[in-house]
């Protein structure tokens, strides 16, 4: 059976490998013009790196919505008399694909800047490549450590946990007077482990005290052991640094055993599932965010209205607003440097001070780490996130 077919098979495998070679080579044709040339009328190419499929697709897709709005707006007038062209690729949230895309965007599409990735891990990997190839990369979502330290071409326009978490703790301890804190960390979640370190330092800095520290794992569903111990410690507030699903389940259990304290956490708690799972038990929970569509500044209001008009009355989220700001920041730097050469406009970009973006005021410190103001404190009220307070952040 096999033997009869084998001749055809050899032919088939030869054709297949030839096809692979051809399609590979076809894609490898270099783009016609270098975009660094200021005289050129070719469009300025900006790459998008993020997941459009997979577990973290929602971050990428929303960033893309904001980016597309920014492109539309910039192309009304053009940048240096040129149009902006977005080259979008899907990395499915995987490192090897992200490496391939970053190389493709830079060496094949000749983009001058990349917006992405929304997650810290992939930004580190892509940032290392972009920096060595002298292409600007601006993450519109990464908040973890060791990102901008990679090199002078790596930026981000996010509200950092190192700024937001202390501001939140200051509010909780000084204004609410909740001094005795139960701290819960999700041990297999890199975001939670990192955030807990910042939380526990700022609790002590603001005169509070961690009376009990407990650990859970993401995807756990039974927290009886931890909650029983927390009840015995009798804290004023439960600080949880993980994501919304576990947060909701923790609060359900806490209310069940009669703990009255509310939960405070980071932007990981921002997800509608928090209320869907937690119901009445998560009422009063406080978390911070880099963006809220409530109480907008005039610019932000304009952005929100345009966004709703374009996307079926949908409200923009954090990623859409930060994606929009990321491209606007890059375009502004290109205009000011009068050059689309990343080597030149990266310095202009690094000097951005008090830029009024739709997601807040952005200043790049020395070393390019952003300071964003304000920190939006949100409270769960009536099953919805509502703005509790805008806490301004001082630029030193």
């Amino acid at each position: 059976m096999f033997r009869k077919k084998s001749k055809a098979l050899v032919a088939m495998s030869i054709i297949m490998s030839a096809l692979i070679m051809v399609s590979g080579c076809g894609a490898s044709k270099p783009a016609a013009t270098p975009t660094g040339d200021a005289e050129s009328k070719e469009p300025i190419k900006i790459g998008f790196l993020g997941a459009k499929t997979g577990d973290v697709a929602i971050y990428g897709l929303n960033t893309l919505k904001g980016l597309n709005m920014a492109v539309e707006e910039l192309n009304k007038e053009g940048v240096l008399g040129r149009q902006i062209q977005l080259v979008e690729e899907d990395n499915a949230g995987q490192k090897d694909q992200a490496i391939n895309i970053t190389n493709k965007l830079i060496s094949q599409d000749k983009v001058v800047a990349i917006v992405g990735d929304p997650t810290t891990g992939i930004t580190r990997v892509a940032g290392t490549i972009a920096n060595s190839k002298k292409t600007v990369i601006m993450s519109a979502g990464s908040t973890g450590p060791d990102v901008v330290e990679i090199g002078p071409y790596v930026f981000r326009d996010t509200l950092l946990d190192t700024i937001a978490a202390p501001a939140t703790m200051k509010y909780v301890i000084e204004e609410k007077g909740w001094k005795n804190v139960a701290l819960i960390t999700s041990k297999n979640n890199d975001y939670s482990v990192g955030l807990s370190k910042i939380f526990s330092k700022s609790i002590v800095d603001n005169g509070g005290k961690v009376v009990i520290e407990e650990f859970i794992q993401d995807k756990d569903t039974d927290f009886s052991g931890q909650i029983t111990k927390i009840k015995a410690a009798n804290p004023d507030v439960i600080v949880f640094s993980g994501y919304y699903t576990e947060g909701a389940l923790i609060m359900k259990k806490a209310r069940e055993v009669g703990i009255k304290a509310v939960m405070v956490g980071g932007d990981g708690l921002q997800g509608d599932d928090l209320m869907k799972i937690g119901g009445a038990d998560v009422e009063g929970s406080i978390s911070y965010a880099g963006f809220s569509p409530e109480q907008p500044t005039p610019d932000t209001e304009k952005f929100i209205n345009a966004f709703k008009a374009k996307y079926n009355n949908e409200l923009p989220d954090l990623f859409a607003a930060q994606g929009y700001d990321a491209l606007m920041l890059i375009a502004k730097a290109i205009k000011e440097a009068k050059s689309a050469d990343p080597e030149k406009f990266k310095d202009t970009l690094a000097q951005t001070k008090n830029y009024e973006g739709v997601s807040g005021t952005i200043t790049f410190q020395e070393g390019r780490e952003p300071i964003k103001s304000p920190v939006y404190l949100l409270e769960v009220k009536g099953g919805k996130f509502t703005l509790l307070k805008k806490v301004p952040v001082e630029v030193k």
């Binding site: 050899v10 894609a27 090897d96 580190r124 297999n188 890199d190």
Partner: protein
């Protein structure tokens, strides 16, 4: 001529010159090919090294393992710790990664390889979970946050040289006494132990060599991405490698090579399809499995096939393969 080829010194020399030729030609290619394609080639190489290891375990010896990503992660972390924390040279790090994975493979092999079929698959699956959770909770691996600051030392020539080395070793193993014993175990374990083959020994040998390859692949992966997290080595990674072996053809080395090329480059080649990319990718897998249920080259004797295609008259039928 034939006599000359049977001389082991000539064989070793031939082998070394092939390696040298690979290293030389790939370092020339490296400068010509654009970085995007080079990177895809590099990932094909890394996946191929790991898939060849799994092919020995699952394809040749017939032991279904769903924990290959665990050995990959052991190699990745061991090599990263060696090069970052102890400042060892990159290639030594790769070797350490492979040895660490191989050693763990032997230790795990003793209890689990007494199981067969589905039971072994579940046991290896559980082992992979244990390894992932262990790395999440260890201090030296920096837990869930991930291991940072690995040097990007992996280059195309190094990967390709290791690929050729692995392919040569695999061909050599399959044609050796041990390889024959492994094949016999796959075909009928009871019959082969009845004729005096120490089945546990050969299964553990296959497992150790296979895990060694996974460890080497993991080490190369870590020094490509420069940053690794336990989540990079989840169950899906094991499935990715297994699908390369199954799609290429269980037990076929040329099949595994084609499987690695097709499955690694397909997501990139299909990029122009944008949002339909992964749908078409899935469809491709289904269609291949329907039309080639034994894999692309499963059950094909390549030597015979080439001879037939080139119309070379068959001489003496050597009784190898199917």
């Amino acid at each position: 001529m034939k006599k000359l080829l049977n001389n082991w010194i000539v064989q070793v020399l031939l082998f070394l010159s092939v390696l040298a030729l690979t290293a030389l030609s790939t370092s020339i290619i490296q400068d010509i090919i654009p970085p995007y394609l080079l990177m895809i080639g590099l990932f094909i190489g890394i996946n191929l090294i790991m898939a060849l290891g799994l092919n020995l375990i699952t394809g040749v010896t017939g032991q279904l393992s769903l924990g290959h990503a665990a050995f990959m992660s052991i190699g990745a972390y061991a090599s990263a710790i060696a090069t970052v924390n102890y400042d060892l040279p990159f290639l030594i790090g790769v070797l350490i990664g492979g040895l660490a994975a191989g050693l763990i493979g032997i230790i795990i092999g003793f209890p689990t390889l007494r199981l067969t079929g589905d039971y072994l698959a579940i046991a290896t699956l559980g082992f992979a979970e244990i390894v992932r959770v262990q790395f999440t909770n260890m201090k030296i691996t920096n837990g869930a946050i991930g291991f940072l600051g690995i040097e990007g030392s992996t280059t195309f020539p190094i990967v390709m040289t290791i690929v050729v080395l692995t392919i040569c070793c695999m061909v050599w193993i399959e044609n050796s006494r041990n390889g024959r014993a492994m094949l016999a175990i796959r075909e009928d374990e009871i019959a082969s132990s009845a004729v005096g083959i120490n089945t546990t020994l050969y299964k553990i040998q296959a497992f150790a060599i296979g895990s060694f390859c996974a460890g080497v692949g993991g080490a190369l992966f870590a020094h490509t991405t420069t940053f690794i997290q336990p989540t990079d080595f989840g169950f899906l990674k094991s499935v990715d490698i297994l699908s390369i072996v199954v799609l290429g053809g269980l037990g076929s080395i040329p099949g595994t090579i084609i499987g690695a090329i097709v499955l690694t480059s397909a997501p990139e080649i299909l990029r122009p399809l944008a949002n339909y990319r992964m749908i078409v990718y899935g469809l491709l897998l289904v269609v291949i499995m329907i039309f080639r249920p034994y894999g692309l080259l499963g059950g094909v004797n390549l030597r015979q096939a080439v001879r037939r295609a080139l119309m070379i008259p068959k001489k003496k039928q050597a009784g190898r393969g199917e």
